[in-house]
Symmetry: C2
Subunit: 103 residues, 2 copies
DNA sequence: TTGAATGTTCGATAATAATCGAACTATCAT
DNA sequence: ATGATAGTTCGATTATTATCGAACATTCAA
């Protein structure tokens, strides 16, 4: 049975959950790596993070509506849901990605 | 001894903490009430909330750099730190306040 | 088919946060 | 002074989240 990753529909995406997901430094760093729009192998989002912790964070981002997860072989390709986020929360992503990582 | 409310300097305000503070529905609702820029009596930010819980949330917003708290008599006047937020995270507040409360 | 690699799930634990009553301080009105 | 009011602090409890090892499933390479 292949792996399946549910993604919330736009109506199910709430601002509070998006903000919460982005408020974790680990996840914020992941989102920055996805800023170009390219698909990134999940393992490259946090190479030094324990596997189960990585799964936790990628799942949090996905369930919040921030990312898509596409399985391919043994890997997961992660992308930003820019279209959804820009439509639903115009400017939010741009504002957040404009920040330098530390601030 | 009069009450004193420490406010973080701009350099001490981090995006992650701001996002976290805003990710709570109660606090997000408070920020919406402050959107006009007017000072709001703290009690009016959540009239039905227990006092100690209200103190907790107003303190979280203040320590995150989102609001100012100015004591006057027995009351506290709360304002949005729009200047700081717009300078440090341009567009963030506008984006968030543009949203309808439920989404 | 065997073994290695990737990711998930489960379970336990630690850390953090939310909630709120009670006691307290400060302030104001009378 | 006395009492009422607003807000804080403290402490306890509950809820949520983060972390991560171990066992497991899936996929791929040899």
């Amino acid at each position: 049975m292949p792996r399946v990753y549910p993604h919330p529909t736009p109506d199910d995406v709430s601002l509070a959950k998006v903000l919460f997901a982005l408020s974790d430094p680990n996840r914020l760093a992941m989102v920055r790596l996805l800023a170009t729009g390219a698909s990134v192998n999940s393992i490259d989002l946090a190479p030094d993070m324990p596997k189960s912790t990585l799964t936790h964070h990628t799942g949090t981002l996905r369930k919040a509506g921030i990312t898509t997860t596409r399985p391919e072989g043994r890997n997961c390709w992660i992308t930003l849901r820019r279209d959804l986020l820009d439509t639903k929360f115009p400017g939010l992503l741009d504002t957040i990605l404009r920040q330098v990582p530390d601030t």
